[in-house]
């Protein structure tokens, strides 16, 4: 399922963060940073997308759905591509 990223993966995630949009459905990852203005960043943080939090990509595409802490968030592509994550096989959302 996450074979495309196995070369990046360590037990705690890869060294180089990748945009959330590059992950296929079913991938687990950890948030590295949110490359966006303060207000949007704060909103995402408030909704649960905090730095280093584990997430699971439930649906990828133009709009993606991620599961964070038992909550599903729908993110437009514009937002998702600014969220940098460390893909991780072992992590569990």
């Amino acid at each position: 399922m996450t074979t495309a990223f196995t070369h990046l993966t360590t037990t705690s995630g890869s060294d180089q963060p990748v945009p959330l949009t590059s992950l296929p459905s079913g991938t687990h990852a950890r948030v590295a940073c949110r490359d966006m203005d303060g207000d949007n960043s704060e909103l995402l943080c408030a909704m649960g997308l905090k730095n280093d939090c584990p997430l699971e990509v439930c649906r990828s595409g133009r709009m993606c759905i991620v599961k964070v802490d038992n909550t599903r968030l729908a993110l437009s592509r514009k937002v998702a591509r600014r969220i940098m994550v460390h893909p991780s096989e072992a992590a569990s959302a």
Binding site: G38, L43, A46, M47, N51, K78
Partner: protein, 666 residues
């Protein structure tokens, strides 16, 4: 990590509050934290619980009675943070700072958080605790947290947040007994809280609190797995659209089939009331006003209630299941191509019942350009008030072909929707140019909808519609009746002569007598209408509408329905038939006005005129209450006037083109 910026942002009356028992409490928290359910549990007031994020954008106020005391409870709009640049955050902050007129700031802030997802809610908890108000932290859905294997150390949490903590399940009323004591003992937090300006500080503090207070054990993953399975279908790029389309078609089918008989019943009841008044009161101006102004006016509003009620009920049920958030997600893809977003979906759907609540629900659209574009195009969606006009005109056009008539109905709805999204696209590329804020929304778990909750919220919304639209439509009907009834003129000579002739044959031929007298009544009513204020206005304005194929009689209909489009049918009944009661009998009205002639002997409602009129009513903003609500929601007359002028010019030009084309083709 946890900076010591515990200085309250607003110290003002915090010290004086602490001694007094609370008179007013405010519920604050995330959308979907269960604030409104708690509000309902406390107040028993009719407030709604919605899964669609941000649906409690208007605060609800109620009274919580316990232990012989009464406390005012304010249910604030759900939001993710007090400092965000979003309408609901600004509203809450303004309220907590005492900046909302005639609404005093609360004595105690009840911060509602989801016990199963405490970590996500702690940011708003920390911000709320720093507002300088006495506070209580309510952990809602404690039963669900237990099912998910979450255990919370309440003593430690109380120590970390510096205020009383109560665990409840608002839906099952579990733990609510402890709330009065907690509210009475609410206190201003005096612990070190993270800076309100740093999200990272707050996140780190929240992580610390969760690590210290929350323990996760084995959890029941069935609900989550079910949501995942349903989501795989309803958010699928192709299947999602199919499901969405099926649900929308289902909703409209149910509305039109189920609403038909109560609408007939309402029409029949008001007809009976009108006849009863005619029988009881002596002939005169007051009787005419009551029958043709007041009863017709009330009936004109109430008749749409079944459709509006059903649409609101189905929307509320869908909200409660959690599907509407997915529908917004699915439609976002489509609407974004036209400069709108998924947030616009619910207002545009509601606009098919009535544009007034639709424009009001635009408050949940966070981006102000998206919001404005949605408000401006909402009246293009075919509302139920257009239905009687569609029924009349399509009946005249395709009365002999049900298939073509059905196609024309669909065409009217499609035309409104297509012109609506194209208008939005033009607006977003010109006057409202700029990037809209990207969509980020929470998709709640699916759950069984509560019929009671949906029923109560629908009742509330329908009441608001009846009050807001009903009072305006009633006033319009009364004013129109007066303009049509005055100046009263004597019956023309030929009518008097007809009556004399009729009287002469009354005993010999009673049937013929009634026939002639009826005809005389109609001719007199038409004569009076033509010479009334509104008739004169019709004659004066006729040249403006002549290029669209309308004569003075249709012009009266268009003018009188400027304030409310549904008035068109009753006006036509009065102008052409002289008897408004025929407006309820579609077929006879259609036959009569279908054969009515102009001054030059040609048909008033020829096919080209009907087509032109139909397009005019699909596109024109013939609704004064809509204009008033746009003015209120956009904060001034500018956009309301833009909406009026744009839609009127658009309708005029489109009707002109259709008339010219129809003259050639039909």
């Amino acid at each position: 990590m946890t900076s010591s910026s515990s200085t309250p942002e607003h110290q003002h009356d915090a010290n004086t509050q602490s001694a007094s028992p609370p008179q007013r409490i405010a519920l604050l928290g995330h959308p979907n934290a269960g604030k409104t359910t708690l509000f309902n549990a406390l107040c028993g007031m009719r407030a709604k619980t919605a899964n669609f994020p941000g649906s409690t954008i208007e605060a609800r106020v109620g009274q919580w009675k316990h232990d012989h005391t009464s406390v005012q409870v304010i249910d604030l709009p759900g939001m993710y943070g007090l400092n965000l640049d979003r309408p609901e955050s600004r509203v809450c902050k303004a309220y907590l700072h005492g900046e909302v007129d005639r609404m005093s700031a609360p004595d105690v802030l009840v911060i509602v958080a989801d016990a199963a997802n405490l970590g996500r809610h702690l940011l708003i908890v920390s911000q709320a605790l720093q507002q300088g108000r006495r506070a209580v932290l309510v952990l809602n859905r404690i039963d669900m947290a237990q099912r998910k294997g979450v255990t919370i150390d309440y003593d430690e949490l109380r120590r970390r947040v510096g205020c009383p903590v109560v665990a409840v399940s608002a839906r099952s009323r579990l733990g609510l007994d402890a709330l009065p004591a907690a509210v009475a003992n609410a206190q201003q937090s005096d612990v070190a809280l993270p800076s309100t300006t740093s999200a990272d500080d707050a996140a780190a503090w929240a992580a610390d609190v969760v690590a210290a207070c929350v323990k996760r054990g084995q959890h029941d993953a069935r609900a989550s797995a079910l949501t995942d399975r349903i989501d795989a279908i309803v958010t699928h790029p192709v299947l999602g659209f199919v499901v969405f389309a099926a649900i929308m078609i289902g909703i409209f089918y149910v509305i039109y089939t189920l609403a038909a008989w109560p609408m007939d019943l309402i029409e029949l009841s008001f007809g009976t009331v009108g006849s009863w008044i005619e029988g009881v009161l002596p002939a005169g101006a007051i009787r005419d006003l009551l029958v043709n102004g007041v009863v017709a006016g009330i009936a004109g509003t109430v008749v749409f209630v079944p459709q509006i009620f059903l649409l609101f009920l189905l929307i509320a049920l869908l909200e409660d299941t959690g599907y509407l958030a997915r529908a917004a997600f699915v439609t976002d893809r489509l609407l974004r191509r036209f400069g709108l977003s998924g947030y616009s979906f619910l207002p545009l759907l509601s606009a098919h019942a009535c544009a007034i609540p639709a424009i009001m629900s635009c408050r949940l659209v966070p981006d102000h350009r998206d919001r404005l574009a949605t408000i401006l195009v909402a009246p293009l969606m075919s509302c139920s008030a257009r239905l009687p006009v569609y029924v009349l005109l399509i009946g005249l056009l395709f009365g002999d072909s049900p298939a073509l008539a059905a196609l024309a109905f669909v065409g009217c709805y499609a035309l409104g929707a297509i012109v609506g999204v194209l208008t939005a696209l033009i607006l977003r590329r010109t006057a409202l140019r700029g990037e809209s804020s990207p969509m980020v929304m929470e998709l709640p778990d699916y759950s069984m909808p509560s019929l009671r909750t949906a029923w109560l919220s629908t009742y509330d919304r329908t009441k608001v519609f009846l009050y807001k639209a009903g009072t305006v439509i009633l006033s319009i009907c009364i004013v129109l009746w007066w303009l049509g009834a005055y100046p009263s003129v004597d019956a023309p000579a030929h009518v008097t002569e007809m009556r004399t002739q009729a009287t002469a044959i009354e005993t010999a031929s009673p049937d013929r007598f009634i026939e002639i007298m009826d005809e005389a009544d109609r001719l007199e009513a038409r004569h009076a209408q033509e010479r009334s204020f509104i008739g004169r206005m019709g004659r004066t304005v006729e040249p403006v509408f002549r290029p669209l194929g309308y004569d003075w009689q249709i012009t009266i209909g268009v003018l009188s329905s400027f304030a409310a489009r549904e008035v068109f049918v009753s006006t036509m009944a009065v102008v052409m038939v002289g008897d408004e009661s025929l407006a309820d009998e579609e077929t006879s009205l259609r036959d009569t006005i279908g054969s009515a002639e102009r001054d030059d002997g040609t048909l008033v409602f020829n096919r080209a005129t009907c087509a032109s009129l139909l397009v005019f009513y699909v596109l024109a903003l013939q609704c004064l209450p809509t204009l008033a609500v746009t003015r209120r929601e956009t904060g001034g007359w500018f956009w309301a006037m833009v909406q009026l002028v744009y839609l009127t010019v658009l309708a005029y030009v489109a009707a002109f083109i259709v008339y010219r084309l129809a003259l050639i083709l039909l």
